[in-house]
């Protein structure tokens, strides 16, 4: 159970991820559109000039990769056949229809699309635009993929979040044949997921288990790791078909809010203790001191009077009685005085 402050923080973390993933999609799409719209790209792609495209755009891709985290760039022939991978020029001609529904959709509908996908070279955020020749005839598509590492590292630097991206092992193995086999080590495996990238491996290992990744509900929780409470949010990554292929786990140090919450509880308990003690004191002093004890004393006097005690005249007068008890005491005085008369 978390307080409203922590709930707000968890929602904010989720919003940050959603916003930045959308931002990455838009950046990928904008870059793809910029290249796809150049006359040279249209001309070379329409002529199926692979060498020409490589000569023209490989330096551009390298600069984008080094500076801005652009990981993949690829030209496709409809419906979804790789024509040229700028990030891996030697591999082309393979059919992508099975695992790249976004590319199929863009080429079918001839409308730009964006989203998460697992490509041959690994998972990334893609922007795919249809390409047309000079006569507006559809000739294929072009995509830009932005690497998760760049997005996650920037988020950590900007917001102090710790992040990790987990990808389902079976599609990753099946589709991303170009990634390093060392990634599929036991150290990176959590149930059916593989930890693809992490900003703090030790911490994420303590915070995220395979059960958390497989849980269909409760995508937010607070858990202690290395003596510090962390808020964790799971953000699913879906492909164009809507299948969950991965999860981004986001963690934030909640020790500040958690200790504030605990401090607040301690102060509340102390205030309650003060309130109870003072209330009990008020009741005891008022009821016992002003009512019960004087009544007890008066009862004793009446009792003495009834027993015909000789020392009646020596009993001191009761002072500071409330109005009702004072009336009773006066009655006692009258009775005592009348009894004392011969």
């Amino acid at each position: 159970m978390t307080g409203s402050v922590e709930t707000g923080q968890l929602e904010l973390m989720k919003s940050i991820i959603d916003f930045n993933l959308q931002g990455a999609e838009n950046k990928a799409l904008a870059r793809a559109a910029m290249i796809a719209d150049t006359p040279k790209a249209k001309q070379l792609f329409a002529a199926q000039d692979r060498a020409g495209l490589l000569a023209e755009y490989l330096p551009v891709f390298k600069a984008q990769k080094e500076k801005y985290g652009v990981d993949q760039a690829q030209f496709h022939i409809p419906p979804a056949t790789s024509f040229l991978r700028l990030h891996s020029p030697d591999k082309f001609g393979d059919d992508l229809t099975q695992f790249r529904p976004l590319v199929v959709t863009v080429n079918r509908d001839q409308v730009a699309g964006k989203g998460f996908a697992i490509a041959r070279s690994g998972p990334a955020i893609f922007g795919v635009v249809p390409m047309f020749d000079a006569n507006r005839k559809h000739i294929g598509s072009f995509e830009i993929g932005i690497a998760f590492a760049a997005i996650l590292d920037n988020l950590k630097a900007a917001y102090g979040l710790e992040l990790a991206v987990f990808i389902k092992e079976s599609p990753l193995k099946e589709f991303a044949t170009g990634i390093a086999p060392a990634l599929f080590s036991d150290q990176n495996r959590l149930g059916e997921y593989i930890r693809y990238h992490s900003t703090n491996t030790d911490l994420i290992q303590s915070l995220v288990t395979d059960r958390d990744l497989n849980a269909t509900s409760n995508s937010e929780y607070v858990r202690e790791a290395l003596g510090v409470p962390y808020g964790v949010v799971m953000v699913p990554l879906r492909n164009a078909a809507g299948d969950v292929l991965g999860i981004i786990a986001v963690a934030k140090d909640f020790s500040g809010s958690r200790s504030a919450q605990d401090r607040s509880k301690v102060w509340q308990i102390l205030m309650a203790l003060f309130a109870i003690v003072l209330l009990v004191g008020f009741v005891l002093i008022v009821i016992r001191g002003l009512l019960l004890r004087p009544l007890q004393a008066l009862t004793a006097k009446f009792s003495q009077l009834a027993d015909g005690d000789d020392s009646l005249q020596e009993n001191p007068k009761l002072d500071n009685l409330c109005e009702e008890l004072d009336a009773l005491a006066q009655q006692y005085d009258r009775l005592r005085d009348s009894k004392g008369k011969p």
Partner: protein
């Protein structure tokens, strides 16, 4: 004659050689910012805590030997991989200092270092792909801001603060990635008397510069947690025990037929004695821990509680025991019930408050 002619020819040839060649390219200035990868130049930082000694919390300083590792890419320094069988060019000690004068390096300073380091040695490696790794081992005294708010359950961060002073954040930025986190830890055998060492944490603040600019900085801190058990025995037991003095003054009295049995001045003497005890304890603790002598922390709160309790009981002694104020105003039964109530209520509230102060520090 021949020798004269020979001499003249030699001088002429030297003069010809001395004439600068207009077509020759001047050597590139490698000390400027590397712009080939765009700005800002990304400088990756890691800090390894080799040793930590002499943490003086009262002075707010600690002595440490740290390895600072900086990595950046300068494509102008590319060279064929076959040139170095080891896979990198390496410069140690004075040679490294000389090399750093010939290439660009981030003008990094330890902003919280006190005086000059007692030891500092630098190592530079340049890799064929243009990556530069600067490793610097520094033994020095560093300052830190000690927050004693949660004393004795406090955690402190023994941090070194590095900042790029020469370049702004638009020109060079300090970052840390997974590899740098893996490097940033403390040696296994680090032991600090009275403290448990924890993780190394990195924060990334920015420092204001001129004209609205800022400078990139990193705070790489080793977390340490105070071993509270040692302090509880020496500080908290006397503080809690001194809280009993005014309560004893309250408990010593009794009532018989509506009258107090012990004379007020005897109890007032006990309270005044308690006051001097608390003052002496205050002086002793403040001498040992100047850090907690001022400000808001558990110890100052407990001292304040002691003074407040002494004051309250003194008030009770004077008003109730000496002048019978409640009896005069509301009668003897109210005074008697109030006395019986105070006998348990005041200790409950005093120790409850003391417990809350300690609990707040423990959870904080």
């Amino acid at each position: 004659m021949k020798s004269w002619l020979l001499m003249a020819a030699l001088l002429l040839s030297q003069a010809v050689l001395a004439i600068p060649d207009d077509n020759q390219q001047p050597a590139p200035d490698l000390t400027t910012l590397p712009l080939d990868k765009g700005l800002p130049v990304i400088v990756r930082v890691g800090v390894y805590y080799q040793s930590v000694t002499g943490f003086d919390e009262n002075a707010g300083t600690f002595n440490s030997t740290v390895d600072l590792r900086l990595r950046w890419e300068d494509p102008r320094l590319h060279y064929p991989a076959g040139d170095t069988p080891r896979g990198f060019q390496e410069y140690r000690g004075p040679k490294a200092d000389d090399k750093l004068k010939q290439i660009w390096s981030p003008g990094i300073a330890f902003t919280n270092m006190q005086d000059q380091p007692s030891y500092q040695v630098t190592n530079v490696r340049i890799f064929p792909n243009g990556w530069v790794e600067l490793m610097q081992r520094t033994t020095a005294q560093f300052s830190l801001k000690v927050d004693a708010g949660n004393f004795p359950f406090d955690r402190q961060t023994l941090a070194v603060e590095v900042e790029i002073r020469k370049e702004t954040t638009n020109e060079a930025a300090l970052i840390f990635l997974q590899e740098d986190l893996d490097f940033s830890r403390s040696a296994q055998d680090i032991e600090l008397d009275g403290w448990d060492t924890g993780l190394v944490r990195i924060n990334r603040p920015t420092r204001p510069g001129w004209y609205g600019e800022s400078h990139s900085a990193l705070i790489i801190g080793l977390e340490v947690k105070r071993q509270a058990a040692q302090v509880i025995a020496s500080v908290f037991i006397p503080l809690i025990a001194s809280l009993l003095i005014p309560l004893v003054a309250l408990w010593m009295n009794g009532m018989e037929n509506g009258e107090f049995k012990v004379a007020a001045f005897i109890l007032a003497n006990v309270i005044v004695g308690g006051l001097f005890t608390v003052i002496a304890l205050n002086f002793t603790i403040n001498s040992a821990y100047t850090l907690i002598a001022s400000g808001d922390n558990t110890v100052t709160r407990l001292f304040n509680l002691n003074y407040v309790t002494l004051g309250l009981v003194l008030l009770i002694v004077i008003l109730m025991y000496r002048f019978n104020l409640l009896k005069r105003l509301f009668g003897e039964y109210v005074q008697e019930e109030s006395f019986l109530f105070l006998l348990w209520a005041l200790p409950v509230l005093a120790f409850g408050t003391a417990g809350a102060f300690i609990a707040v520090a423990a959870v904080g």
